[in-house]
Amino acid sequence: MSPQACPARGIALNPAASQVRIGILGAGKIGATHSSAYAKMPGVKVVGAWDADVQRAQKLAAQHGAQVFERRADLLRAVDVVDICLPTMFHRENVLAAAAAGKPVICEKPLARTVADCDAVIAACAKAKVPLLVGHVVRFFPEYSALRESILKGDIGEPAVVHMRRVVCAPGGPGAWYWDFEKSGGCVFDTAIHDLDWLLWTFGRPQQVYGVGLRDAAKLQDFGLLTLTWANGLIAHLESSWCHDSFSTSFEAAGSDGLIEFDTDDSVPLKVARIGGQGGGGKVIPESPLAKSPYQVELEHFLEVIGGRAKPVVTAEEAREAVALANACLDAVAARQVVVLPRAKRVQRAKTRKQVQLGAEHPA
């Protein structure tokens, strides 16, 4: 990344200080993950945290030497960049508040629950002339960008059948917002959106989607199987689950001239086991370490974009597109019918091509 700022195009970040001051809205899991990533970035500091659950905000603030703000408005005044790590249903309101305060916004994916809300936040940020960057972090996972580059380079010929699997444990317990499907959209909306975004990024908009799913909030069960098809005959199939025992993702792309595959379960370079004594029973801690976590790569990139030194690898419009596609998938599952998507404009393709090179510059 270029160390030289480009103030003509970028936003002047706290010119008086040498630090970019980050305000975290939402001190849950993703708020903590982002804060830890910021902590590793020179010249960046989490200075403020806000959460409806003050104790949670206090814990995060204490960890990073930040201040807890009781009022969001006070936090917005005290920071250079707002990072929204709140549940999806609060994204709209908080992006609008940040934009109104004239602060650049980083927002966790999904951008919003509905396309209408996406439009509202995109328009507000455009009007306020603040960048809006959405945390589609899978684009910054080296295995996923390697897969994409390999496919776009033609390593497997014409892609024919692509599988993307993303299974996780039940997020939160009974009563957690995740299990209010109206709010979260369930695993197909909240979790598969990573893979849907990757598919859009790599192949553009599909022609149609179909899916089946099971959901029972009382039993903490949510599961979906989605099938997407493109005009050129490409088939993508996704498994999405919130009812597995552990986190796991995999993908496979089979093309006319080759095949490429990946599975987190097969990609564990380090396993450290504590000996449990006679008969075993120790604990194995598997790790797949990277010099920089994909979250850090993502957030560094976002700050470069905010500073006017880079073009976004993921735009707010693309995040909106992922929301639209995830909603189409939910519609297909609910209707038990194929949902045909409106044809995308040609512009998207050219954009995607350009971003390949951008993506390639990213440190693995």
Binding site: G157, E158, A160, V161, H163, R165, Q208, Y210, G211, V212, G213, L214, K219, Q221, F223, L225, T227, T229, G233, I235, H237, E239, S241, C243, H244, D245, A254, G255, S256, D257, G258, L259, R336, Q337, V338
Partner: protein, 345 residues
Amino acid sequence: MGERFDMSLRIAFLSFAHMHAYGYARHMLTLPRGTVDIAGVWDKDATRGKKMARALGTRFFSARDKLLAAKLHGAVVCSENTAHLEDARAAAQAGVGVLCEKPLTTTSRDARELVDLFARARLPLMTAFPCRFAGAMQRLKEQFDDGVIGTLCAAYTSNHGRQPGRWFTDSQHSGGGAVMDHTVHVVDLLRWLTKREVARVYAVVGYNRFHLTRQAVGKKRIDDAAVLTLEFDGGVVASLDCSWSRPAEYSTWGDLKLELLGTQGVARLDLFRQRVLLAARKTGKTVERCWGDEKDGGVCGEFVRCLRDGSTPSVTGEDGLRATEVVEAAYRSAECGEPVAVQHL
């Protein structure tokens, strides 16, 4: 005829068009002496038939009906898919029980005819679904029946393969490509586990998508890429990738994988995972070789048992019929682009 010879079952092989016939024949020969006598081989391809007859130490018959009249107890039908009907029908008419390679037939109407024919003749008709007999699958079934993962909710499965070549890419003989070839195993396993029928199918199907197919079929076309979504009576949902998507350069021929999501847990089966990795200068390739139990042994053992005691095979002609119904529905769905109801005959 000596006592021991009277005791042994006389089994004929009708065609070696499907390579699984070699496996079945080998297993018949490994059974204890006096269990099975391979009474003869008939094959439309006389060269292949004669070669196999020699290898198995038996006679080649140039007329199928002559062989069927040779005091047989059973016949193994491994002809091309579209010839199963005629060969199995001839066996039934000759009073001979049949083990038929999958798919039982290429249409459900043909399958229904065979099922009824064998039922009327009180003869065993067994569909060769060897995966049921694999050790890991048997263990999965045991644990599933014991309720280890609770009630089945969903399944994510695959039966990938390398395009098998020869008549498999000629729908006149095969009845279809990857969907015809690789749908039935997983459908049978899921039916076996759930004891339910597939009610609704959505299929997206691609033709000539892979190099090996393009090379094989030229200007003709055959389906080689497909993802099926299955909905069972009672609500279980499942998906299956049955594509011939493995390139020649891949380390193995394909796979059969089930991920079963139950109310109490998740089971993952990778049926061909018992394997060694071999890198050899001789072939210039790195390949995986399976060392797990041969599944064909279970199929042969079951067929022989049924011929001997007259009992109904654990895998019946009706199982073959139900699987073929799903294949038919998949092709119909691919054609109309919508999910379709499975028509049960």
